[in-house]
Symmetry: C2
Subunit: 596 residues, 2 copies
């Protein structure tokens, strides 16, 4: 079935049911970023495979609303599909709501599948379009045209021990309950898959890259229910959950259970992470309280076990990256290296490491002009061969037992243009600016974002994506609540959080530069002006100093990069073979020489 | 009547009417910062004269909730009043609401005067305390104890010409109406006095420092009503308003008029700038739409006349300041100069300037330890004599026809400590960082705030106030919507806005440093990364370079300060007497020498 035929089928259903506008959102019933095959609705309907976007279908229009990161990819993938790209001004903003309000008359009916739309988005739609007399209808029109739609995943799941998690399930549940009084709630319904995984020390393989399991959790004052396919867990794990005060019920029984809740329950749900469908599961006696799930914040503050294990994992990841850098340098010009074969080789080096569980996301490895696409993923059609000049950008990460990595480096392949060197230096300067930031307790992500961008703004350069995101502990590579971006999200960067810092410069058709480390928020000092925090850089991977134009850096940036590469050498050295160590020493010596 | 007797009287009224908690907010029926005598309720009740704070009275407690700027002043002024200070963590945050919810039981009744509480604050109270079964009662208990409460001011008001304003009243009203469709409203009720003054090119003398007039405005699709005491305007002005399509009705007739509105009016009101009492004036047929008044944004974007006139006014203000700096230097040690006499002398120099209309706020002139009080205003009791050493901080401003100024300088009086020099240098560095910022269109105040603070954060130093505020055109020295502070206020710093940049360091008991300029947002460049803005510094007043520790500055900061003082010299030179010019040249030469 072609995309145009699917579109025709959806439009037929819309006509039949009196729906003027049909929205297809990119999510699953847990409002996930990475979704199971069954919920890859955007790719099925339009061919677009990006992880964020919205399809908007009317009898006249078929649009994909997507952000900056996907402009080039979307144009390519939508060709011939009948869909056209509408470029979002602001990442993740539902700008089509205003457009609908402006372009469509009162009485317009909007349809969507309530299972894959967040409560927050639905609230926004109703708030902005009900006053304009729009009507709403929930329905899944994909089922009409999706003949062999995949079932829900059945991969087995497992528990990790309290020792490896740094806390028992019972402890975590009690930490959540500690927020009930202040929030004035009796229950917390948790839909977000990574929150459920963190709460129950649970891991699995239901979606790509994120070691999570399809499950919901209902935490009460003195009980907790995990809604999951019971055959996913073995008897030992079920017994362990039971010992931690957890009842296990089938995934499908959530609706029935919520409907049967008695007493005047007050249930906390996170509007960003819960589907609108779930809201309707409750009976009239229950009161919904909207607010962030306590587990989202608790999960972001890494405990000492999580921090220690992540530090260990960073050494493993750094060793794999060192071998990869050396392999590239020694083989370029000797064998053919393509974007795909390089990514495979990098995965192979990571797979040699003890505890490697898989990639934490699909490697973004772009040579030359492909580096200018922030979310580029090589395909057999696009696959470039690496050459002896220009820049090669690699953004990659691993899932390990126990820890998650995410790192971006730009490898100079040979001769560089002056602009390539300038861009490399300025991005490095911005990354260092963020990494060196000292800031008062309570400082939010948007402030760190501004400090990171300043060196680029000074040169009238900017990038369209965020500066950084939270990172999980053997969990999702993107996790909240903290975020480094220009939007006014009032979440402070607190002690124990692990966050990426990844500024970039993109020159379409030429090259791209992004340099990314993960940093841990630590205490810096306490004085008469208050408590100040700083970042400890966790990532351990050589930053190549050859492209640097030192005259564009201040002395403090030069000191930082020299010290950083020295730390990489010291930490990775004991884990490298002699010739690898020698290679890395050479690289770091170079850095010390140039900066002296 | 003593403060304790007043308190007893209020408590008696509360008891009689079953009110458990009585709130006295710092505002008038227009939610002004500076209020007419009749509404100086905090000062009347407690003796506290700060421009922001809330009194909270129960049978057991009598509290002033005030922010950082007023901690020292409040402790002094409240002594013996029966009131105790509660220190706010965040400026302007109504933190007592959470405290009330925690400390008081269901059924508690809260009373307040609906005339002086904003809709926004009232919404917050209801939203957070209604779920806890609190009750609310509106009443003014001050009338019981305030025997000779002042009447509303009767000072005359006047219009400024469309030439001097840069736009006619009719043009401004049409600009407001241009937002009606998008906001889906039929009317806009404007309560904010500076918005009303801007809309009708109206000025007056009803409150200190702000040249505004007590008035409301109701703007409809094809009519506009100004509610003002008609005897405040002369016949010519009334005729001029009439020609611009404005009907003038008595100030007191607002309630009656709003109640009589027919048809299904949809009235836009700004919840931050409207009193809760006004909400009750409307009949059931009217719909209230909450949102910022279009005039607040339109007023902030200065037109070319306003910008040109402000530039002229900056020269006048700079000449007055130059004479003041010279006078201080030449007279210290020869005659006694006190904080009060210096402030008077500065006002006298400003008064020599053509078009001077008065101070734009009460001069903050603090010598030595008094400089550490960000909002210090010398009194006959506190008045210090300036000495031959240490720092003297002067934050002052003028109202001129046509333009408003606000400038802070710190004058080195002689020998300085190392810490005084370091603090002076770091504050200057922060101020320059903000002033030199280049930033993409859409950048918000919180981002400029972070870039300004960074040099201080690097040294684990911070300040408790905002970095800057909008400034009016012969209007309020504090105006919105833009603000430079850490809070997540999503207002961008747009072309034509005039904003202050005023970082500081305060060492209680020692000294304070704050350096402040006003800047205009201008276009910088447009390129493949978007449109970038920058600041043009408007303020023209020597920044003394003698205290600077140049080793703490980067070369770009040194270049900035050298160029700035050169600009001051060039712009002020033609307006100075020969010996004044010679004095200023000497100061600027010094700067050039030290930095070379």
């Amino acid at each position: 079935m072609t995309y145009k035929e699917k579109l025709a089928g959806i439009r037929q259903a819309m006509k039949r049911e009196g729906v003027d506008v049909y929205l297809i959102t990119s999510a699953d019933p847990h409002i996930s970023e990475y979704v199971p095959e069954r919920y890859k609705c955007l790719a099925f309907t339009s061919g677009f495979t990006g992880s964020a976007g919205t399809l908007l279908i009317t009898q006249e229009h078929a649009q994909l609303w997507a952000d900056f990161r996907y402009f080039v990819q979307a144009e390519e993938q939508l060709a011939g599909s009948g869909f056209e790209l509408v470029k979002l001004k602001v990442q993740h903003a539902p700008e089509y709501i205003e457009w609908l309000g402006r372009e469509f008359r009162a009485g317009t009916t909007i349809g969507f599948d309530a299972n894959i739309i967040s409560v927050q988005l639905c609230d926004l739609l109703l708030e902005q379009l009900l006053p304009k007399s729009f009507k709403f209808k929930t329905a899944d029109y994909l089922d009409h045209v999706w003949d062999e739609r995949p079932d829900l995943p059945t991969a087995p799941a497992y528990l990790i021990s309290a020792e490896d998690a740094g806390a028992s399930v019972a402890q975590k549940l009690d930490a959540v309950r500690g927020h009930f009084k202040e929030r004035n709630v009796t229950h917390n319904l948790v839909s977000a898959l990574d929150d459920v995984a963190w709460l129950f020390n649970l891991r699995g393989n239901d979606v790509s890259y994120n070691p999570v399991v399809l499950a919901f959790a209902l935490i009460g004052v003195d009980n907790a229910i995990l809604f999951i396919q019971p055959d996913k867990l073995n008897q030992d794990d079920l017994a362990s959950l039971n010992q931690n005060g957890v009842e296990v019920l089938p995934y499908e029984s959530l609706q029935q259970h919520l409907h049967a809740l008695t007493g005047s329950a007050r249930i906390l749900i996170d509007p960003k992470k819960s589907s609108y469908a779930v809201l309707k599961y409750f009976n009239d006696q229950s009161t919904i309280v909207r607010g962030p799930a306590p587990s989202t914040y608790l999960k972001a503050i890494k405990n000492s076990t999580e921090i220690a294990n992540t530090r260990t994992v960073m050494i493993k990841d750094g060793v794999a990256l060192t071998r990869f850098f050396k392999w590239i340098e020694e083989n370029i010009g000797r064998i053919e290296i393509t974007e795909l074969s390089a990514a495979d080789q990098l995965e192979a080096f990571r797979a040699e490491q003890d505890g490697f569980m898989g990639k934490s996301f699909n490697t973004i490895g772009g040579y030359g002009p492909h580096g200018a696409l922030p979310h580029y993923a090589a395909t057999t059609e696009s696959n470039s061969t690496l050459q002896n000049s220009g820049l090669y950008l690699v953004d990659s990460g691993g899932q390990y037992a126990y820890g998650t990595t995410d790192v971006t480096r730009v490898i100079p392949m040979g001769e560089l243009t002056d602009q390539e060197r300038t861009d490399y230096t300025l991005v490095l300067k911005a990354m260092i600016n963020g990494s060196m930031a000292r800031f008062p307790k309570g400082t939010c992500g948007y402030q760190i974002d501004a400090i990171t961008r300043q060196p680029l703004w000074d040169h009238a350069i900017n990038y369209g994506h965020g500066t950084g995101h939270g990172v999980g502990y053997f969990l999702n590579v993107h996790e909240g609540p903290q975020t480094l971006n220009p939007a006014n999200v009032p979440v402070s960067i607190d002690l124990g959080m692990i966050t990426s810092i990844e500024p970039g410069i993109y020159r379409p058709g030429k090259h791209g530069v992004r340099i990314e480390n993960l940093v841990l928020t630590i205490t810096d000092t306490i004085n008469e002006f208050g408590e100040f925090y700083a970042f400890e850089t966790l990532t351990l991977a050589l930053i190549d100093t050859r492209p640097i134009k030192f005259e564009l850096l201040d002395s403090r940036h030069i000191e930082w990069i020299t010290a950083y590469n020295q730390t990489v050498l010291e930490k990775l050295g004991p884990h490298l073979a002699a010739e690898e160590l020698q290679w890395l020493q050479q690289k770091c010596k170079l850095s010390a020489m140039v900066s002296a």
